[in-house]
Every structure is written in C-alpha cells, then in structure tokens.
C-alpha cells in the first residue's frame, strides 16, 4: 500500500467496511456526488451506489435522527457532520437518543453508529469551522470518543469504530488531514478502541495529547530532547473511555505529566485526566500535573487563531516548568 494521508485513511476505512458489510451506509451533506467537502467519502458513491452513500437535505438533526432509525432497523449508519461546529444543531438527537437508546431499553435497542466530524482550528476557516468540543461528547454517558492522529490510526480506528457495538463520535483532526503521509498495511488493520499508545519513550515527564496536537507535542518533545530532557509522549487515540492503565503506568515511571489539548481549558479533557491521576497515584507524583490548552473562548477569527492554539514552544515551556518542581 502506498503512503497515504489522514483523510485518505478515513476514506480507505469507509471503503473497506462498506465492502465487507452491506449494512454499512454513509449519509450526510455532500457525501455522495461531491465526495464530501474534504473528500473523505470520495469514490464511495461510484462503488456502492446512491442508496448506501446518501446525499441528504441540509439538516444535521435530520441526518442524526435518521441514522438513529437506521441503527434500530439493522443498518450501521455513518453520518457525517460537515464540521464539528455544525453538530450543535444535532446535539439533541445525539444527547437524547444516540447516547441513550441502549440505556433506555436495557440493551434491547443498541446504537451501532459512527458519527464522523472534522474538528479543530488552524485551517484559516471562518466562524464555527474550527471548533474543538470533544468534552461535550466525552461528558455524555453512552458515547465513545475516538480521535486519530495519523493516517494509519485514522484507518485502523475508524474500522474499529464501525465494528464497535456502541455509538462512537469519530473526531477527525482536519488541520492534519493532509499534513503528512504514512504507510498503511495492505491487510485491513484494526486498532482497539479505548487503548492509548506510548509513541515516544522517555523517563523525565509524560506528555499526553491526541489528534491535531500530536505533531506539536512530539515537536515539543524533540525540543526538550535537545536539552537532555527525555519526554515520554502518549497518544490517547480514545478520549472516552480513557486508557487509565497506559497513562498511569507511564506517569508512575516519570512522576510528572502534562496534558495538551486545543479545546478550551475549563472543564476540558485535561481536567479529567488530571483528576484520574490524582485519584490513583497522587502520592507518586513529583509535581502537579500541567495542562497546555486553548483558552476559554470560541476559537478566534482565523487571523489570530495561532495565538490560541498550543504551540510546541508553549508545550515545551510548560514541561520545563513542571520539571523545575
């Protein structure tokens, strides 16, 4: 298999799963003829037809609501929200039904579904096209939240999400959709949901990130390495449920941790990770766990969005601060 981009990884997983299982359907705005505005669904309509690759009218709540019904009646729907910022219109269907049907019916009506949405700032888009609100979905009991950070992971995690029995919010880091390429296997690869990965080993501090913040965090780790600081880097991959085991095992060794996300700081995913570390290994920590995040504001209009996003410099600085303690 040639090297592919992250968006091509998404496309590949969709193609593979649609070919493997005729119950898998894709629906959303511009997903058919246009191939998706980011081209995530390109080629699907030609291969699987307009009945399974469904161009819907413009209605996010309608798309999710219809997917709920499809899941009830034997299909595995993969609805696309064109931008995560547009999913707010569908919030009530996701919160009220996608996340609760399994619970409401004591498992009699499961909700196998993957809600795909590109998220995040850094693409010079206008308002509501740069949102990072994974905490909403992680806060909703009944949902899983998966965020890939590389082409290979996008393919393998999306495959896993489609096979997963519960509804998964698949949050795609659009800022790195085409940022780099990666080799993927010819054989279908699937990664486990709920598992994080140590992507760089180190002994001084554990840096935890996911999605579009991964390249920046790894860059910070390289900057620190030049100074002799060995940072371990964890790619969460699944934000909810958290892979406590991998996080705790690492932080136990390093004694220090820092969490990075571009979502606003207050009540963000970092707060949850820090709480878990305090719960489980408080007395093994050498310093308070740091967080490097977006600020408590909507992503700024794009001329100033880079001032909002955690930069490698800022991440490295905060790591150094933690190491001083």
């Amino acid at each position: 298999m040639p090297e592919i981009t992250l968006i091509e990884g998404v496309n590949l997983a969709l193609k593979e799963k649609m070919a493997e299982n005729e119950n898998v359907v894709v629906l959303g705005q511009d997903v058919g003829l246009d191939g998706g505005i980011f081209r995530a669904t390109i080629g699907l309509i030609e291969e699987f037809g307009a009945d399974r690759v469904i161009d819907t009218p413009l209605a996010e709540a309608g798309i999710i609501g219809m997917a709920v019904g499809m899941a009830m009646n034997g299909l595995i729907p993969i609805p696309e929200m064109q931008f995560s910022g547009f999913s707010y219109t569908a919030f009530h269907q996701i919160e009220n039904h996608v996340a609760r049907y399994h619970w409401r019916t004591r498992g009699q009506i499961p909700m196998p579904m993957v809600i795909r949405m590109p998220y995040g700032a850094g693409v010079r888009a206008f308002e509501l096209h740069s949102e990072s609100r994974e905490a909403y979905w992680a806060h909703t009991p009944g949902l899983k939240v998966v965020i890939p950070s590389t082409p290979r992971k996008a393919r393998a995690l999306l495959r896993a999400a489609i096979e997963h029995p519960d509804p998964v919010v698949f949050y795609e880091p659009k800022a790195i959709y085409r940022a780099f390429r990666e080799n993927v296997s010819d054989e279908p690869e699937t990664m486990e949901i709920g598992k994080a990965e140590v992507v760089r080993e180190g002994r001084h501090i554990t840096m935890i990130a996911y999605g579009a913040m991964m390249p920046r965090t790894l860059e910070a780790a390289r900057m620190l390495a030049d100074e002799g600081i060995e940072a371990e880097v964890i790619d969460l991959m699944t934000v909810s449920p958290l892979d406590e085991e991998t996080i705790i095992e690492s932080v136990r060794r390093t004694g220090r941790a820092l969490v990075v996300h571009e979502a606003p700081r207050s009540f963000g995913p970092a707060a949850e990770i820090i709480a878990r570390l305090n719960d489980k290994i408080f007395f093994e920590l050498e310093a308070p766990v740091a967080r490097v995040t977006g600020y408590d504001m909507p992503p700024p209009f794009f001329a100033r969005e880079q001032w909002f996003l955690p930069s490698p410099t800022r991440i490295a600085d905060e790591a150094r601060e933690t190491l001083k303690l």
Binding site: D30, L33, I37, D55, L58, T89, F126, Y295, F301
Partner: protein
Amino acid sequence: MPRRIIERPRGIEYLSILDEKGRVDKKLEPDIPEETLKAIHRLMVFARLFDERTLQLQRQGRIGTFAPIKGQEAAQVASVLRLREQDWFVPSFRETAAQIHRGLTPQDVWLFYAGYREGVRVPEHDLPLCVPVGSQCQHAVGIAYASKLKKRDEVTMVFHGDGATSEGDFHEAMNFAGVFHLPVVFVCQNNQWAISLPRERQTASKTIAQKAIAYGFGGIQVDGNDPLAVWVAAGEAVERARSESEPTLIECVTYRLAVHTTADDPKRYRSDEEVKEWEKKDPIPRFEKYLKAKGVMSDKDFAAVREEIREELKTAWKETEQVIRELEATRPDVIFDAIHAETPPELAEQRAYFLRRLEREGGRHA
C-alpha cells in the same frame, strides 16, 4: 361523517415582470422613481465588481475563504431596498450586496474575510452574517415579536437559502411567525444548489414558496433575477407586515453562478452547460436593457458607474491593507476581548498568562 375537502390551500403565484431578454410586462411594471432605478443598478453592479475583486484577493491569498454572490444581486438588492432604516435586516452568509446597502463598507467585509473579528461591525437594526444555516430565521421572529410588543413601526426581513428550508430552525421560525402573526418577511434566495445538493433533492415540494401555506400565511415565487418582480413582491410583503402584522415567504428563483465558497469545486457536481444557461438569465444585463429602453441610463452611464466603483474599490482596498497592518501590530491579547460582558476570573488569569508569555517570547507566536 363525510369525507370532504375542508381546506383548499391558497394558490402560489409566480411573478416575473422583466424577462431575460429585457422584455417588460407593461401591465405589471411597477412605477419606480428614476433615482431608485439608478440606485438598484448601482448596488447590483457594485456587488458584482466587489465580488470579482474579493475573489481576486482570495486567489492572491490576501483574504481567506469567501462566499461569492454572483448571480444573486437582484434577489437581495431589490428586496433589501424596500426596507426603511428602522426596519431590521437579518442576513444569512451570502448577502454582501444587501449588507453594503445597509451600511457595511467593503473594508468591513474584507476584514471579516481576512479573519478579523474587527470586521464584524453591526449597523443599527442589522445582524451580522450568520454561519449556522437557517438559524437566523428564529432570531428574526424574536426581533419581530419585540417590535410588535413594543408597538414599534418596524418590519424584519430575513434572508436564507434553499438549503435552509430543510433545517428545523427554518420551520420552527415559520411556525412561530404564523402563530404570533409577526411583521416578518422571509426572503429565500433559492439559488438551486446547497453546495452539491440540487434544489430538487432538497425538497420534494414543487415550490419553496408553498411551504408558507402550512404555516398559515402567504408565499410567492418570483423570478429572483428580475429586479422588478423582486421589488414588487418585497414591497407587498413589507406592506403586509407593516399594516397587517402578517408574515410572507418570498421565494426568489435565482442561481449561484460562482462557487459555494472559494473552497468549493462546482465542476464535481454540476455541468458547465447548466451554468451557461443561467448566465443568460443574469440580472444585470437585463436590467441595463430595461434602463436603456426607458431612457434612464445609457451605455456611457453604465461605463461611468463601473469606473467610479472600480476606483472606489481600489481606494477601499488600499485603506483596508493599511488597517490590516495596524491590526497585525495590535497586541494579540485582543482575542480575550468581549467574550463576556463580565469577564470570569479564570479568563482574566489566562489573559495575564498570555501576556507574560508574549513578553517572554518578544511578541512572537508562542
């Protein structure tokens, strides 16, 4: 007991006065003062040239993604010109011409598309551009309710597209407008395409105008590329809102001649032939034929108007570049401005942290 028809919905009218060849239906022709005819013309041409210039700026990387209005000038110009200053104007995101009429400057629009919140200047009784499709319709209803409650002589005109008519927000707004008998005019710019989705896949109803019937008020479909038809329909709707406090839905049948936004490639979903067919229905040439036949303006006048607008835009961009330089020199903690009326303590703390970092990094991105 019997099965019988209990309601025969009112019909849906179609209105066209000036056709694409420039022929006028004399019986329907409105009596528009010469100065107003010239104003309609100037604003349509302004919008077209502004669009072209903005597209150039986008291609040169001076501004970001931009939603052109090319082809839809008549639908928004001839309708918004029916509003008085005290009336409310509620745009979606493709109403640059109407926004400019209501008091935005090219500079405001360019700053917005160049990614500065400073470009969101809101003239009184206007709302800014609205990104979530159709959501502004509900705000128009609330504004109209307040006008009615306070017995203010105000009409609210809200713009949306064919795509918005699939959103729940649109239907909820229409329903509220009908239930509360509100002085609101819904102007649908049916430009045939919601990105790649054609109008016939957006709704199975024959017209968009007929959706008003279900909500208990009137709808009309007009040739949206005919400024005279739009002028007449909008005038009637505004008058109905003002004197009877009743809403109206106007469906302007028009066409998006350009891209959805500059990030879009329409060749993937529609044919060049279709676009060429609609280019023949362009509102500007037909209106110029009309003005010439009426003796209101000549070719020389048209050229002079274009020249004047081009000069105006040239100066405006020069000034905008200067403003952008100033904004770039502004301390970037302006991103913390005006998020709340009362800033929460943690946000003040975040701003202080931001400023400490800024100082440490010597003003660089960090």
